[in-house]
């Protein structure tokens, strides 16, 4: 085993045993990676469905509804994601405190960082993805809806069977970009004491004073997830594109 002396006189431990040894930090990093992926994967259905709902309301809602949706997307697209996270986190906490204080005084409920993260990320992703959904909705020709109606399909069936499949093909590249943004945004949750990949790396580097190694390892894991996502996305695009030369 390599043992070198560092400038502070402590024995140098090899990077391999720091990561994969019996007392290594690889396990914590792996758990962190699972939390990161879970955060992103759980957020996706809420965020994308929310974005679609906002897009539909923006296109067909009444004027106050439209204005409200416009304000919502402008707000969350115009401020830093970190600030959105804090606003949602501390805002929800204040809300919980107020409701909890009214229901049962003296009881203090602490908002779970993971749950707050999913909520905040869903709100951010909804705002981002609504723009993608709008252009996809507008890209499906009106004739498709009219033809479905002439065939006697209900609005719900029309949307699910006729409109959505055509929309998805157009929306996929944009949604893929947002997925990448989401994946990287999960790292912001590490500032709220959730043990995600980046937080695990921070923990490990604080205990070993080897930040280069552990942040480098975390970056490598993020990179691997990004690259795999890119490959999956390309595959999905190919599949949805079949029939469209």
């Amino acid at each position: 085993m390599w043992k070198l002396l560092r400038h502070d006189g402590r024995a140098e431990v090899s990077w391999f045993s720091l990561l994969f040894g019996p007392d290594g930090w690889g396990g914590l990093l792996l758990e962190g990676a699972v939390v990161t992926i879970l955060l992103a994967v759980i957020t996706v259905p809420f965020g994308f469905a929310g974005g679609l709902a906002v897009a539909v309301m923006k296109l067909s809602g009444r004027r106050p509804v439209r204005a409200l949706c416009e304000a919502y997307t402008t707000f969350f697209r115009g401020i830093p994601d970190l600030l959105s996270l804090f606003i949602v986190y501390f805002g929800l906490q204040a809300l919980i405190d107020r409701i909890g204080g009214a229901l049962s005084p003296g009881v203090h409920l602490q908002l779970n960082a993971f749950a707050a993260g999913v909520i905040a990320l869903s709100i951010i992703v909804s705002a981002y993805s609504s723009e993608v959904w709008i252009s996809a909705l507008q890209a499906v020709p009106r004739g498709q809806r009219e033809a479905a109606r002439a065939l006697g399909l209900s609005p719900r069936v029309t949307f699910a069977v006729v409109i959505l499949p055509q929309m998805l093909r157009i929306a996929l590249p944009g949604l893929g970009n947002i997925w990448m943004v989401l994946l990287k945004d999960t790292s912001l949750i590490s500032t709220l004491a959730a043990m995600d990949l980046l937080r695990a790396a921070s923990e490990a580097s604080r205990n070993t004073t080897r930040p280069l190694l552990f942040y480098g390892a975390a970056a490598a894991v993020y990179l691997a997830i990004s690259i795999v996502s890119g490959i999956v996305q390309a595959g999905m695009e190919r599949r949805l594109d079949r029939g469209h030369a």
């Binding site: 402008t74 970190l82 945004d185 580097s205 480098g216």
Partner: protein, 240 residues
């Protein structure tokens, strides 16, 4: 109606807070503007050679540029920032011996460095797309007319590519402003940092809303300037 609205606003927005701590937010805004200004312009300068390497015919250059772009676009900015900020501390001895430690010691420098490297990767991809969008026949025609490489770049490619790149570059600038809030996490007192400072002192939630309004005004202003820029630079393309 107006009374209820203002009463409601006064309920969530504390005006006294702004009177006491408003100057802190302004100071923070200045730091944010500085950081973003420096890193977006340095990033622009750095993006050009990266874009050129990415489009070159040498496999080594292409792969180096591709690796750079993939790394900086595929990992979270916060992770990159930690890598520079805390990583510099680990190689302090080496940095001191080449006289760079005084720079890396400063959170300000680490932020500017990280943001520059990060935005350069995004801007390089934007430039590549814009340059590739210029029709090849134009370059062939220019070559046939005997124009030199530099003339072709300067008078044929750049004016057309700039127009294509303008909008995505504006989006990238807005993205950088939003991303710059991460500077607060490594103790820098930018707008976000000052906001967190005030919140830690007062536990008044409304300071976050004030900060949001300031960020919104900033991003909205840039969006408008960019709209105008695009309209004036692209006026020859519109049918009058």
């Amino acid at each position: 109606m107006l009374d209820t609205v203002s009463a409601w606003l006064a309920g969530i927005l504390d005006i006294d807070l702004l009177r006491t701590y408003g100057w802190r937010l302004i100071e923070g805004l200045k730091v944010t503007l500085q950081i973003v200004g420096i890193s977006s312009s340095l990033g622009f300068l750095l993006a050009y050679p990266i874009c050129r390497a990415r489009m070159s015919r040498h496999a080594v250059l292409v792969n180096a540029a591709l690796g750079y772009i993939t790394f900086f676009r595929g990992t979270p900015l916060l992770c990159q920032l930690y890598l520079v900020y805390y990583g510099a501390g680990e190689i302090r001895a080496a940095l001191t011996s080449i006289g760079l430690w005084t720079l890396f010691r400063e959170a300000y420098f680490c932020c500017v460095l990280t943001f520059t490297l990060n935005t350069a990767a995004y801007q390089a991809e934007i430039m590549r797309g814009a340059i590739a969008s210029v029709a090849k026949v134009q370059i062939e025609a220019a070559t046939a007319l005997g124009l030199r490489r530099y003339r072709i770049e300067r008078h044929i490619i750049w004016p057309q590519a700039l127009l294509v790149a303008l909008r995505p570059l504006g989006n990238e600038l807005i993205g950088l402003i939003k991303a710059s809030a991460l500077a607060a996490i490594v103790t820098l007192l930018d707008l976000m940092g000052q906001t967190r400072f005030v919140f830690a002192r007062t536990f008044d939630f409304s300071v976050y809303l004030y900060a949001a309004v300031m960020y919104l005004m900033l991003t909205e202003a840039i969006r408008r300037v960019w709209d105008r820029l695009e309209r004036s630079l692209g006026r020859h393309l519109r049918p009058s």
